[in-house]
Symmetry: C2
Subunit: 330 residues, 2 copies
């Protein structure tokens, strides 16, 4: 089995938590992992794991495009090259998101027929499979035909990742009627509604959906431009954090509530695990000619284990070939 | 004191809950209320309240513009006319949002200098004053100068409504740097950063904010186009509902958790009340030449009481004159 190339230098908790996740992934999943990064930093932590040397690190807040062009021996660029060269099945990074995208795009290239890769992010839905949101931030500006391609790629991803027979694809708008929204949304609606290409990709267009549908079982794939998608993702993150924080504060307010909340922990744990971003396996950059998994900047070892697991499963499912078939120019 | 004109026919729970709210508003707040709607429907419910007759009702899902043009004797149009004619201090409706906006715009007109009115929606923030989000859906497409005007109006609203000295105004984007986002956002950033008009309106521009900041105390007014704003609002509604629903399900899962959750109710109640849309007083349409309060379609009697309270307070604060002064053409 081909190993997963893990950017051991990327993320708020790198390298310790990232490498700890690698060790756990090997032990728990049996998926081999290559650690990509500075040898002198990684050697004391690596144990049996193979190190792919990379002398540079692109900072979390560095300018993505120029950093990737300039830092050819960075862990991100070397991880992408490992996939390109067939040494690894996938790359995983919790580092600079923009630089991860740029590395994957420049080194792996695009799948033939793909105009622009998109970030597909699983949004947890209590009691159901996650909703796949794309584009979650790769393309701030989009044309209607781009949204059609996102829909195709999202449908393939939802099928392979969550085993859905015919994923329901919704277009994010501000009303159910096809006449609602911006010109982009109205034109995309017309394209999606009549699209044989989406049906061929396994998707089923259910029309416009609204923000309130994202965290429900009403839709499997939500398609939008990268600006709106990124706002939705971060709005939910912030909203969940605010609400959960306030609930925990109420739980701890008196000794009585503290005791009562301890009784509730086992019942709340599955929900907590369902919405914990460490458990979603991270976002995928769809449309590049190889597997690229983008983990949250705050990824823990558990997040890395899940990202490696998902990357391994998607590689096994041959998702890049399935995406290639879905978007092949006719 | 001038009465508030209440559209007694609008909303999912009209007319019973709406009229019940009117009675409570009069009794609890001492704010007089005019019930606008069908006399034969309202007479049995009205008691001492004055009825402004209106024979037509614009349905919740009717096309706003054409309905308002066609149905001149509708409760929404008559409520807006009561404000225009000086018979009422404000209109309040839980009915068709688009038709509420169209009625207010067509009958009251715009404040001189205002290009387009915007919906300002308070987003609850646990432990702090709400964040004012605008535009929450009136204008799906916006130009940069429109966002500057929203910022001015939002600053005036946050000052008068929440007593903030110099409200912090943030521009919603997908990164803190001024270079992040769509062309609209980048141009708006440049306008806002150098704006004397915003300072004159009492606002303080703090740069770009992200979705994750909306439900925090990091910002007081979040400015965005009506498409993104509406998506944010509904995404938060859906996300909160999903999370709270799943928590309640966990609470009720066994007799033990049920008993424990009852201990927690008093501690959770303030949070529940803080995020309950019935308590925010609804959204305001800012920029029309009169007060127009847009309540949630599912408004209960309590929501109506709060909307009438806020409408009365804003009338007392002279917010329309303050908005007029803030956006006056120089």
């Amino acid at each position: 089995m081909l190993p997963v190339a893990l950017d051991a230098m990327g993320g708020d908790k790198a390298p310790e938590e990232i490498v700890a996740g690698a060790h756990r992934a090997v032990a728990e999943l049996g998926v081999p992992v290559l650690l990509v990064g500075r040898t002198e930093v990684l050697a004391p932590l690596a144990g049996d794991l193979e190190i792919v040397p990379a002398s540079e690190v692109i900072a979390m807040d560095a300018d993505p495009a120029s950093s990737v062009r300039r830092m050819k021996d960075s862990s991100l660029v070397r991880a992408a090259e490992a996939v390109r060269d067939g040494r690894a099945s996938a790359m995983v990074s919790a580092g600079n998101t923009g630089a991860t995208m740029a590395s994957a795009l420049l080194r792996m290239g695009r799948i033939k027929g793909v105009s622009r890769p998109a970030i597909a992010t699983p949004i947890p839905v209590p009691g159901s499979t996650p909703t796949v949101l794309l584009d979650a931030g790769a393309n701030a500006e989009c044309q209607p035909d781009l949204l059609l391609q996102f829909a195709q790629m999202g449908a393939v991803f939802a099928r392979e990742r969550y085993g859905l027979e015919a994923p329901r694809v919704g277009l994010l708008s501000i009303g159910e009627e096809p006449t609602k929204g911006t010109p982009l949304v109205k034109e995309a609606h017309a394209l999606l509604a009549g699209s044989d290409a989406l049906v061929a990709a396994g998707g089923r267009f259910i029309g416009n959906v609204e923000g309130r549908d994202v965290m429900t079982d009403e839709v499997d794939v939500v398609v939008t431009d990268g600006f709106t998608g990124n706002v939705v993702l971060k709005t939910l993150e912030g909203g969940m954090r605010a609400l959960v924080g306030a609930i925990f504060e109420a739980f701890g307010s008196t000794p009585e509530t503290q005791a009562a909340s301890e009784v509730l922990v086992p019942a709340l744990l599955p929900l907590y695990e369902a919405v914990d971003p460490d458990n979603t396996g991270g976002a995928m950059l769809l449309g590049v000619d190889g597997l690229c998994c983008i983990s949250h900047g705050s990824s823990s070892a558990t997040a890395i284990v899940n990202a490696v697991r998902v990357a391994g499963e998607l590689h096994h499912a041959g998702i890049v070939d399935r995406l290639r078939a879905a978007v092949a120019p006719s």
